[in-house]
Subunit: 328 residues, 2 copies
């Protein structure tokens, strides 16, 4: 209710100047006399003083928040990345504000403006959408970081994530090695560069595009379910399905269960992303494991490092892994 104590209050109570108090809280304690340190500590404690991050940010023209924009915060994999990032940022003294674009370009641009307003130290985008405003910020601000998916090929900015083409390729090769037939690819939205890269990799892996049934799909369970219903009710075969992410795979699986199909006897389902819950709730799901927990440290590193020698785009490519479970 009453306004919080300021640095001046602490200074007055401990009988020193605000500069000294500031030095104490900025960790410049080796420039202070032990007696002074103690009296400031005491006064701050008595008053319950916490330095105002706002005053500090204003003075330093630099805030300590990082904005993370996610396309769908209810996606468990997305959330895992957010958690990893939050934890790593906290480790270097930063806070994370989370916001949901809902895969909506206008909403994303609005949130980017908000992030500007907060003078965010960095803006991390999972699944960014390619808009003029985004491109403008990439060039003018240079504090954007793309995680997991790049919005487009031409954009030069730091990226953290796997090599999507290689991952798709690995799945394609696996399909060939196991002799799977009746290939189906339920791929993500074409406007994501990453989705297309996964699909291209997969097709390169199986080696024959004409034999791959392709469906474009939003990254949701509902969409996966609907694609599966259409496919399975149209013609029943032992399909080998490569889903663009695990959500789609969950949806597909449900449709298969409703038709009493068994995995992997009647159907092979491949997902993409993997998260902690799969081990417990989806032991039938074989998927490409993307190391969600490694995003945090990687992004923290990109933020801390001042600048690389060359222009823009440092990349941190994380390893992926084929996580084979019962379905294969």
């Amino acid at each position: 209710m009453t306004k919080p104590p300021t640095i001046r209050d602490v200074a007055r109570l401990s009988g020193v100047s605000t500069a000294t108090v500031s030095r104490y809280f900025s960790g410049k304690t080796n420039a202070l006399a032990p007696r002074t340190i103690e009296s400031v500590r005491q006064a701050a404690k008595v008053l319950g003083y916490t330095p105002s991050e706002i005053g500090r940010s204003l003075r330093l023209a630099q805030s300590r928040v990082v904005v993370m924009l996610v396309p769908d915060a209810t996606n468990h994999f997305t959330a895992d990345i957010a958690v990893s990032v939050e934890s790593a940022l906290k480790g270097i003294g930063l806070s994370m504000v989370l916001a949901n674009t809902g895969e909506n370009a206008a909403q994303q641009d609005r949130l980017l403006a908000d992030a500007q307003g907060l003078r965010a130290r960095a803006i991390v985008l999972q699944g960014a959408i390619d808009t003029p405003r985004l491109r403008e910020l990439v060039t003018t601000q240079g504090n954007l970081i793309f995680a997991n998916r790049r919005p487009a090929q031409g954009i030069i900015a730091p990226y953290v994530g796997i090599d999507n083409f290689q991952a798709g390729l690995a799945v394609g090769h696996y399909f060939i090695a196991r002799g799977y037939e009746n290939w189906v690819a339920i791929h993500g939205p074409r406007h994501y560069f990453g989705s297309t890269a996964r699909l291209d990799g997969f097709i390169a892996g199986v080696g024959d595009a004409s034999r791959v049934l392709q469906f474009e799909s939003p990254y949701t369970m509902q969409a996966g379910y609907e694609h599966a219903c259409r496919l399975l009710d149209h013609e029943r075969k032992k399909y080998s399905v490569f889903c663009a992410n695990d959500m789609i795979a969950y949806g597909f699986y449900r449709a298969a269960m409703e038709r009493n199909l068994r995995v992997p006897d009647d159907l092979v389902i491949f997902g993409f992303d993997d998260n902690r819950l799969n081990e417990w709730l989806a032991p039938w799901l074989t998927t490409v494991k993307v190391p969600a927990l490694e995003f945090g440290p990687a992004i923290a590193e990109l933020i801390e490092m001042p600048k690389p020698g060359f222009e823009g785009g440092r990349n941190i490519i994380l390893p992926f892994e084929l996580k084979v479970r019962q379905s294969a």
Copy 2:
């Protein structure tokens, strides 16, 4: 790279004073001449100006961020609440910063201090831990809101969530109505008031404490799994298990599956919380559905309303629902 334009730059370019620009961006446009509005709009656009939230916060002694502290961000239900809150806050012009306490008292207190530093408009705690610092803030700041679980009985502060005792009671009554035997309650940590309330309700519902096997457990899959292993390997019965949350239930289920037990023929499993994924991945789970998506609007309302007539603690009690799936 170059520092962002300030209100002064816009004022200079459009030939008006900073006050006028400020008025424009504070939405006081009906006090401005149309010609002025247009020239400010133009200038701001040319410069790419976005008002500094930091400057504004400093001046107003009030920031627009709300800090949300969660005990375990990887819990899907917890995340659903966070998403709901973020979305509702965005609707009233606020941002959410998310932080993870990891069920750790010291970490929570550290984060509370950070929230103070940010001059957070409000602090929302899911699953707060009762510490002296917490109690101090509740009384001195009055901007704390408890969601889903209260830390303790004595604390007077706004609360949003279900009535845990009633929910436990409903489960107990259901057990009786269906004639379930061999009651087991894997309840949450005792230091959470909410956990205890659920357990007390359940016991009241079944009516005979002495016939309830009780285990205290962390809210994790691993813990649920371990309790299940011990219980099932000790003596095999058709247990009726009430788990403190869905995570624990997932863990219990896995142990049951490994032993080829079938739900609900060999075992009844009850969870608590429910989330969107259950419908798809855990159709065997009967659970108490807590309306995660209603937390956001409720919390936004608590933050917006200045103060109730009486001291502290307004509560918003949300409805719960028994979500019966295959397991029962």
